[in-house]
Every structure is written in C-alpha cells, then in structure tokens.
C-alpha cells in the first residue's frame, strides 16, 4: 500500500519563499533577455562598438530617463537573479553549515552593496560634472552656462 502524506508536505512558509524564488528566476530571466540583448546591441554592436564607450557616451545615454530606467532595471533584476543563482549553487555544493552561511552572507552583502551603489550612481549622475578634464564631456555640456 502506498503511503501518502497530507499536503503541505513541507513547512508552508519556507515552501513559499522557495516558490517565489523559482518564479522570480523565470520572470526576471525573460525581462533580462530583452534588457541585456538591447544593452549589448546598443553598446557593443551599433555605432563603433565597444570603441565608442566612454564618459561622453554614458552621459549621452543617462541624460535620458529611458536609459536610466533601463539600466536601473537591469541592475536590480540581474544582481538579484545572479545572487539567487549563487545561493542555489552554494546550497548544492557547500554542506558545512558554517561555510554555507558565511558564503550566502557574503553573496547577500555583495549584491546589496552593488545594488545600492549602482542605484546611487544612476540617480545622482551629473552628465556635465565641474571636475571634468577638457574633451571628456558630451557635446551638449558646452551649451550650459555654469
């Protein structure tokens, strides 16, 4: 006779956390395919390729809220997606409880700090900073009177 267990078979709270992690990986993954393919096309394929990337290029992009939102969404979605993937891998291979907790703590700290740093950089960005060396600014800065 087959033995069956009544649902829920695992603690409901923990089960839901893992379920939402599973859903997040798929939902963020689909969005990231679009965001990252667009990012790679604009920065590495269009125009002069990676050659064109410098401060003036970034400033030209982040002068528009469109690219600020694009890059901000990419930052949050990708770091959480990657952090959760690294958490899964840590759980698979690191069986020592202390090392497991330390590594996952390090992943959490790295992800949280980089999200904070990246968000601050995008939101407080000045495309025409006063400390700029000559010739490093986008052309539209010369139209500004300081």
């Amino acid at each position: 006779m087959a033995t069956t267990f009544d649902a829920p078979r695992t603690s409901a709270r923990r089960g839901n956390v893992e379920k939402w992690g599973w859903i997040y990986m798929r939902a963020s993954g689909v969005v990231l395919v679009v965001l990252i393919f667009g990012h790679l096309f604009i920065n590495l394929v269009a125009g002069e390729g990676v050659k064109q990337v410098d401060f003036a290029f970034i400033a030209g992009k982040w002068a528009s809220p469109f690219w600020q939102v694009w890059d901000g969404a990419m930052l949050w979605l990708a770091l959480i997606h990657g952090g959760n993937g690294m958490r899964t891998i840590t759980n698979d291979y690191v069986s020592n409880p202390t090392a497991n907790r330390l590594l996952k703590g390090a992943i959490l700290v790295a992800v949280a700090l980089l999200i904070l740093l990246g968000t601050l950089v995008i939101t407080t960005f000045d495309p025409c900073p006063p400390n700029a060396a000559p010739g490093t600014l986008p052309s539209f800065c010369s139209a500004l009177t300081r």
Binding site: G29, G49, K51, F55, A56, I58, G82, M86, I89, L137
Partner: protein, 142 residues
C-alpha cells in the same frame, strides 16, 4: 547422505567501468544544466566588476575613461566575445527551461529544444563575432 552443490541462481553481472547510461546522465539534459551553471557563475562575477567599473563615472570623466580604455585592448575584446557567448547561451537555455516548465509538451521536447538553443547560439555568435573582431582590429590599427 547427498550433498548438493550450492547452485548459482544468478550470473554475476560485471560492474560497468564508466558511469552507466541513464536518460539524464551524459545526455543533452545534463550538459545543458552544466553549461547553464558555468555560464551563470561567470556572468555573475563579471557583473560584480562591471557595476564597480561603471560606478567610476561618479568620480570623474577621466577616471572612468582611463579604466574603460582597458576594455578596448584586444585581449579584453576577446574576453567580451566569450562573455557575450556565455550570456547568449544562458539566455536561450533559460528560455528553454521556462518552456520545459510551462509548455504542456515542453519536457517531451527538451532534447530537441537543446539543439535549437545551440543552433540559435551559433547563429547569434556568427553575427556578433565578426562585428566584435572588426572592432578589435580597428582599435589595434587605430
């Protein structure tokens, strides 16, 4: 008194020398999983560095330009080619995983979808690799 020789009921089956085949081990399902993990970890570590280098725009334009100039040397250019190859595989195989989970006949077609992922990966890289090599060569020749 009659002594009976113990009779061998079963013939001894030799242990397989290499890991024996299963529907999973050594096949497309396993290799797609291995590649998804390796590319995922590689992309994660690149992402950590990439957020930090981009954050230099907040220090000064010349600081950012100095560091980003290293991304334009030929060795980094090849690194970007490998990075894009990893991202494209991870992206297409991720979509395959979603189809396996949500498409009613996804599991049945997982093996075929792996080869479709490889084909799309080759097509995408056939488009990107010459473009990136052109950029690298034009950077070297000035």
């Amino acid at each position: 008194m009659v002594t009976l020789k113990p009779e061998r009921a079963t013939t001894r089956i030799p242990l397989p020398k290499a890991p024996a085949g299963t529907v999973y081990r050594g096949h497309e399902g396993m290799w797609s999983w291995v590649l998804h993990r390796i590319t995922g970890v590689a992309i994660f570590f690149f992402l950590l560095v990439h957020v930090l280098d981009t954050a230099l725009v907040r220090i000064s334009p010349q600081t950012y330009n100095g560091v980003i100039a290293t991304y334009k040397n030929p060795i980094m250019g090849l690194g970007e080619l490998f990075l894009v190859a990893a991202i494209v595989f991870h992206a297409f195989n991720g979509l395959r995983i979603i189809l396996i989970d949500f498409w009613s006949v996804g599991t049945k077609h997982q093996r075929a979808m792996f080869w479709i992922v490889i084909a799309l990966w080759i097509i995408t890289m056939a488009g990107f690799a010459p473009r990136q090599l052109m950029v690298i060569i034009s950077e070297v020749s000035g």
